[in-house]
């Protein structure tokens, strides 16, 4: 029960968008989330796996077998669509039993299995309702039940939570994870919500312009992004262009920053990354890596505030649970990570 892509290429006819050289594997019981800006190809990746699109080259494998030429109905993958796509003319149990009916399961057994599956997603007792009478979250549960009832070889989720409101989204996130873990099935989750991806995935894939820019555990992705572009996309970040002026020291728009410059030559252009929650306000007004400036934005987010300090020619963004005014900030050297310079993010002046 594994799903994989091997050097898959796909180009939309008459367009320059598509998927380029995608290699990825999802093991049994694993949940892999794909994130990326809209148009980055994340849904295309799912559609290639589901069989709605055929790759131009490379192989799409299910359990090690090339299924590139097989239609969707031969792939035995459960797909949960963004709009759920519950059949409006069928009762809930008939919706859930549909894949069993396709497979010629006797009516009695498919009814039993459908009811059992509906109970597992918390929709027991509603089996005779029509989809139109359900809320978004409930339809989501039924769609999940329908996609899992036939014990598919993989579960594909296409932005399954985007139509739900924030509080329900958290609940359904745990629900999906629980059901997926229970079924022990390989799952691909396409989402534009990076927090969702970081919180439930075993592995996260960041897509950019049709390429898999980075694949890694949520923690690696957040703490050690491969490029400044990924750092900017995943979570909040401070990104300062700079130049290494001496071992352990870089020159940035906000001033001189002490940090680990191992592996970088003096004179090399870099981008310094620091996550706002790693920075702390301080009462000191000077010293190593302490920067003072004027607060230009102060956003109250409930548990924390996100403050932008204008410092010299740059801005330092920090998060703090303190309620007082913020004048100065200390940037711990170990919180800074140096990334390769990227002329697209910071064009040379």
């Amino acid at each position: 029960m594994s799903l994989s892509f091997e050097r898959v290429n796909f180009l939309y006819p008459g367009a320059r968008a598509g998927i380029f050289d995608a290699t990825l594997s999802i093991e049994r019981g694993e949940l892999v989330a794909v994130i990326g800006a809209s148009g980055s190809g994340k849904t295309t990746l799912l559609r290639l796996l589901a069989g709605f699109l055929k790759p131009d080259s490379g192989r799409v494998l299910i359990d090690g077998r090339d299924v590139g030429a097989e239609p969707p109905e031969a792939r035995h993958l459960g797909v949960v669509f963004q709009s759920y796509a519950l059949f409006p003319h069928m009762r809930l149990w008939e919706n859930v039993a549909y894949p069993l009916r396709v497979r010629g399961v006797a009516r009695e057994e498919r009814e039993r299995r459908a009811l059992d599956m509906l109970r597992r997603v918390g929709m027991g007792g509603r089996e005779n309702d029509l989809p139109a009478s359900l809320s978004g979250g409930q339809q989501q549960r039924v769609a999940l039940a329908r996609a899992l009832v036939f014990e598919p070889r993989g579960l594909l989720l296409d932005e399954p939570l985007s139509a739900l409101d924030a509080s329900l989204r958290m609940e359904m996130r745990d629900e999906i994870l629980r059901v997926q873990r229970g079924a022990g099935v390989a799952a691909l989750l396409v989402t534009h919500d990076q927090e969702e991806a970081l919180s439930i995935a075993d592995k996260v894939v960041v897509m950019s312009k049709g390429r898999l820019a980075q694949i890694g555990a949520p923690r690696d992705l957040y703490e050690a992004p491969a490029t400044a572009e990924i750092a900017a996309f995943v979570g909040q970040s401070n990104l300062w262009p700079g130049v290494v002026v001496a071992p352990g020291l870089i020159e940035a728009p906000i001033g001189r920053l002490a940090c680990v410059t191992k592996g970088r030559a003096v004179g090399e252009a870099v981008i310094a990354l620091a996550r706002p929650e790693r920075l702390a306000p301080t009462d000191d007004t000077g010293g190593s890596n302490v920067f003072c400036g004027e607060s230009v934005a102060d956003r109250y987010l409930g548990p924390v505030r996100r403050v932008d300090l204008k410092v010299a020619r740059g801005v330092v963004r920090l998060e703090t649970h303190l309620r007082g005014a913020v004048r100065c900030v200390r940037i711990p050297p170990e919180s800074i990570r140096l990334l390769d310079a990227d002329p697209r993010l910071f064009p040379p002046e």
Binding site: F81, F87, Y98, V102
Partner: protein
Amino acid sequence: MGLVAGAYLIFLAAPIALLAIGSFGESWTGTLLPSGVTLRWYEQLLDDQSFRRAFFTSLKIVASTCALNALIGVPLAYAIHSSAKRGVRAAARLAALMPIAVPDLVLAFGFILVFSSDALPWLGSFWLLAAGHLVLTLTYTVSTLLADMEQLGLEKYEQAAASLGAGFFFRFRTVTLPMLRVGVLSAMLTVAALSIGEFQLSNLVSGFLSRTYPVVLLQAFYGATGFACAATIVLLTLATIAALSSSLTATLGERREASAT
């Protein structure tokens, strides 16, 4: 606004009401309303061989037209809808709309030219007439269904069915057709209403034994007023039933779709 609508309704309904009254009137010459009450005109109508034949010919034509519309229109609309190329879709839509833009008369002349030849001597046959009605009505079926398919977002459900393991024919039977049920029904009733009242083409293309009701109805106007009224009322009743059931199913469909969102 209300005044205009009321005036319009009176303008529309008054002739029909007069026809209904006239059909039960004993005699009606030179007065506003007829005098005397009788069922004579309906009895005469029932006894009239050519009217009876035309009535049943019309029913058969309507049934055949509906059946042909369903058999050809549903797959045609489906093919247009699922065609990937925009150009194909636009061309198919244009072709389907042509019969509305072109007067029935032009179509009838075309039929006469082609089917009175020795090679295709089918002018006057029942099936040629049914084919003519099909050409005139198919566009309504196709455009109704296309709109329905678009509004339902049909391909989404088909993809879901495919991902759940259903092959083309299974999903067509279990998902596509049931979802289009209301659309097909309302299209068929529109087609029935159009086919019942169709005169121009039928008058020119039908043979002596395959004349439809509206064609024969023309003759009634040369006879007694009451008879003409009764004959017209029969046609109006049929057309009204078709139109009413058509709008009723459309309303039901809308209600179903409204509750689905």
